[in-house]
């Protein structure tokens, strides 16, 4: 049983690390601000959740698991809010997504 939990924790941690790396690579290489926001979402949801679940499995039923759960819930609530604020601020200032057709832009910007 102990070995099963260890292997599961290792798998969760490995998957989470790979997700974090993919998200970071997207932030580095994607061409446009809005596509980079999309890549950052992978880090904040898949990577963070999987890594924290792996650590929870390593910690067992202790206070540490509760704290990890709090970190997970807090970031799952605040990260979309911060991303929405970023996208809203960028769009208000006038940054437009790459490759939007001319007729899909707002009326006054054509």
């Amino acid at each position: 049983m102990n070995l099963v939990i260890e292997v599961a924790a290792g798998a969760f941690l490995a998957l989470g690390t790979v997700s974090v790396l993919i998200g970071s690579f997207g932030i580095w290489r994607l061409p446009d601000f809005y596509t980079r926001l999309h890549a950052a979402g992978i880090t904040d949801t898949a990577g963070l959740s999987l890594m924290l679940i792996g650590m929870m499995l390593l910690a067992g039923w202790t206070l540490v698991t509760v704290k990890l759960l709090f970190v997970l819930l807090l970031i799952l609530l605040t990260s979309p809010t911060a991303t929405h604020a970023l996208a809203n601020a960028a769009y208000t200032v006038g940054l437009r997504p790459l490759g939007v057709p001319h007729e899909d832009l707002p009326e006054k910007e054509r």
């Binding site: 970071s24 950052a40 990577g47 792996g54 390593l58 910690a59 540490v64 807090l74």
Partner: protein, 98 residues
């Protein structure tokens, strides 16, 4: 062992995001990179707690997650309104009641 590998992966990811934070063409790219960097720091603090056998580090991770969120929102607010006080809405400006 697994935690050490995860820590190394996190450090590499942080390095990659730091490139975007330095090179990012617009202000919002930098803000996004710093926000993502903060999320990775939270994970790194938690992993370091497990690595050194002191999971009490998680309190610091929780606090860092809060500060990261508030900092991002404050930075965006500052760059839109150029001060951190009470922001005047466009309606206020139209009425001249600033």
């Amino acid at each position: 062992m697994m935690i050490a590998a995860a820590t190394v992966g996190l450090l590499v990811a942080m390095l990659i995001v730091l490139i975007r934070a330095i090179a990012g063409p617009s202000l919002y790219d930098r803000a996004l990179a710093v926000n993502s960097f903060g999320t990775k720091i939270v994970l790194l603090i938690a992993a370091m707690g497990f690595l050194t056998g002191r999971p009490e580090f998680l309190d610091i991770a929780l606090l860092y997650a809060l500060v990261n969120f508030i900092g991002t929102i404050a930075m965006l607010k500052f760059f839109r309104y150029r001060h951190l006080g009470v922001a005047s809405t466009p309606k206020d400006k139209a009425e001249g009641a600033r």
